[in-house]
Symmetry: C2
Subunit: 508 residues, 2 copies
Amino acid sequence: MKHALSVTREQDFAAWYQAVISEADMAEESGVRGCMVIRPWGYGIWERMQKLLDERIKATGHENCYFPLFIPLSYFEKEAEHVDGFAKEMAVVTHHRLIQKDGRLVPDPEAKLEEPLVVRPTSETVIGAAFSRWVQSWRDLPVLINQWANVVRWEMRTRMFLRTAEFLWQEGHTAHATVDEAMEETMKMLEVYRSFAEECVALPVIAGEKPENERFPGAVATYSIEAMMQDGKALQAGTSHFLGTTFSQAQNIKFQNAEGQQELAQTTSWGVSTRMIGGLIMVHGDDDGLRVPPRVAPYQVVVVPMLRDNDEDAAILAYCGDLVTELNKLDVFREPVRALLDRRPAKAANKRWGWVKKGAPIVIEVGGRDVAGGNVSVIRRDRLYREDGKLDSQIVAKGDFLGAATGMLEEIQQALFADAQARLLGNIDKSITSLDGLKAYFGASKKPGWALVQWGKPTGTALDKVVEWLKGEKLTLRNIPSDADAADGVCVFTGEKAVERVLVGRSY
Amino acid sequence: MKHALSVTREQDFAAWYQAVISEADMAEESGVRGCMVIRPWGYGIWERMQKLLDERIKATGHENCYFPLFIPLSYFEKEAEHVDGFAKEMAVVTHHRLIQKDGRLVPDPEAKLEEPLVVRPTSETVIGAAFSRWVQSWRDLPVLINQWANVVRWEMRTRMFLRTAEFLWQEGHTAHATVDEAMEETMKMLEVYRSFAEECVALPVIAGEKPENERFPGAVATYSIEAMMQDGKALQAGTSHFLGTTFSQAQNIKFQNAEGQQELAQTTSWGVSTRMIGGLIMVHGDDDGLRVPPRVAPYQVVVVPMLRDNDEDAAILAYCGDLVTELNKLDVFREPVRALLDRRPAKAANKRWGWVKKGAPIVIEVGGRDVAGGNVSVIRRDRLYREDGKLDSQIVAKGDFLGAATGMLEEIQQALFADAQARLLGNIDKSITSLDGLKAYFGASKKPGWALVQWGKPTGTALDKVVEWLKGEKLTLRNIPSDADAADGVCVFTGEKAVERVLVGRSY
Ligand SMILES: [Zn+2]
Ligand SMILES: [Zn+2]
């Protein structure tokens, strides 16, 4: 069967991924090293994600703020582990002026900063400094804030949406009086991420704690949601960290408790980024391009008039205009439907395939015959082809379509999730009990999925040995699923008594 | 009369401005030079502005994108005038890694960038580079995009919201086939800014063209909206630029026209920033703090339960909870009402004054007596005091208040605008015809307002002389109001025949 993209997932998954991004006009290279331009369709998906996640962040009591892009070096020096984790990959501002020299612009030596500034890779240090000003007494706690921002982590090898020098994200930061409250917050936001990913982005995930070696620099415990891409690899799609007193010690976030004693606050942080768009592509894309779940689609229904540059065109445009107006009056997922009339001066067939590649959930075509018969031609992006391999374009009475449209969008949202969920659950092997078994499982196929194995939760050098062995097989520990069965066997790595189950897989 | 702030506008306008920001918890110094922390109440106002302006930007056919934070120096070198305008105040990234040296973090000399990167002060150059990739044929035009972003302009003397090293804004960028279309776009966005400022932020403004000396670096024409602060100074609250072919030449934005010839595109750019929040404060604030117009207030109605730590508290909280639920079901300005129940553990009187200082449009207090009588106590922020100088708190039946609430919010929005509009119109002197007259007008009062004078629209060195003279009086040319009467006299500066009228005033 012929498909809209020139490369299939089967042929070359990495090339296919780039082709989807390019053919769906989601993003492109910017000419600035490691930075991409996010184009309207890609940014529109991010705006939808922002809106739906922001609602959930606010509904759980958090308020949005904005903190500086620049962080003085001295803030980083206070937290050694955090420095080790980030110092290797930060953009450093050293001058505040340029001058002309020999016809070229150069940093002005006279304008060298006394203390260089780092472009934030994450904001624990600068937000911690604010918390230390805001928190004096137990009455000031909890502090529950979030910011939507750009961050920069210098990366040698970049990949659009998955790993870029600059990326967009939200970072939540909270301070609490007790470990219990901070842990409750950490788990609450993990659950917000899980439900947001599954309900809005139709991205089934496994939520759980990361092993020690995968913790955020400075965290006491890190939790993640892990999604399975169509090539079987894992993508960490969101993280929630219990930071204990690491940053309250470094930034001096102290409060007087009800008994009048000084205590260090317990802090958390949690983030989701534009990386999730990469996950959306690799979970829902197919060989015809992207498929966007209706809840995060910038447009849910796109109406393409089939114009012929003749007298009929005006009637077709009017008919389409009415249809879009009617659609936009409907509600779905408790929001107005987002329908678009595509008036651009291009061939209808090119426009149709353009929207297929962009993954608009429903594409409607309207020609002169449709207008005459009071019909529309409906293409559902989740069921693009008939059994015989032909494009499945159904002629439906306009009124019937209007009555069915919102149900159809709900169905598409559900179908994309169900497909991905079946793939995730069907590709986690729970039967492996030996290193040879792991080797065999991950060697047997190009897209092996994951293994859920029992282990003794080694720490320190014992864990290093495990990680080293896995690295040799290009494998990583993903997380310890919160809802996994209790251990009842031996550690696949050491043969000792197992204490829990951990997910193993290749990863992005 | 006693007021909530410790300094009045009359005593010290600059100190009053800082007091409002601090007492309303809008923003604070961050500890990072020139950068502020925008706290939830300040950021909440920005989120409201973003939502309402974004709707208008999209309704006029623009799509949001995201472009890199970093711009290579070579991009700037292509446009000499633009460089001159910005090179003096840019943050320059020169290294991409830190190392430990003598126990301190320093930029790693091994990780020096071959080409330094500038943190964007504005994005014409990097967006122009994208346009040159996107535009090949007349069919690709117009390109209509916008981005919401942070930008950095190094400033020696900073002031919260008005002038900070980093600030938040939206920047629209468009490319067109003809001068006419680009000018139409420039004026359309000026009008979007005018209507947004007046209708949403209740900020009356004068829209018009900036004189030559006040143009954006690289622009052919710059238009602005100018608002009058309560100290009589002008604040430029938004700008729209017709850039001609300046940036299409520098960035090579060319298209094949319908006749098959290569042409340079005509471009525009336009922006509104967090600076407008500074304008909101200085236009609507009073000696009791901020007054936020209901359309941009994070919360429009705040309900403060007057708790006594006794048995009645539960009934009061339930009563208040119902009230907030009912309020949130109402619509005003075609959106749901935003009401908040303030449950924080603090004294009711402190909470009341806290919300007065924050400028919540309506504050409701509910005590045991109110519950018993089925009443609420209503404080309107735009009419805080009675004739006798006492706080104007009106006891109203709960049902009556619910019936009147949305009308009251509309009234407050209108009243704030009307007040500011009267002040603006009442403080523009149109009768001045000589330099002595200008001197006398601006010397006669500490808060003189503006003068609208006739002038000959001098250019080049003739204009320089005018600007120099004005500078001596601490005055600036604001703009040539679009709706001013035609000139019918002589130029106030030269005595020659006047061609138009220009606004003169002190400015931020
Ligand atoms: Zn196929
Ligand atoms: Zn007074």
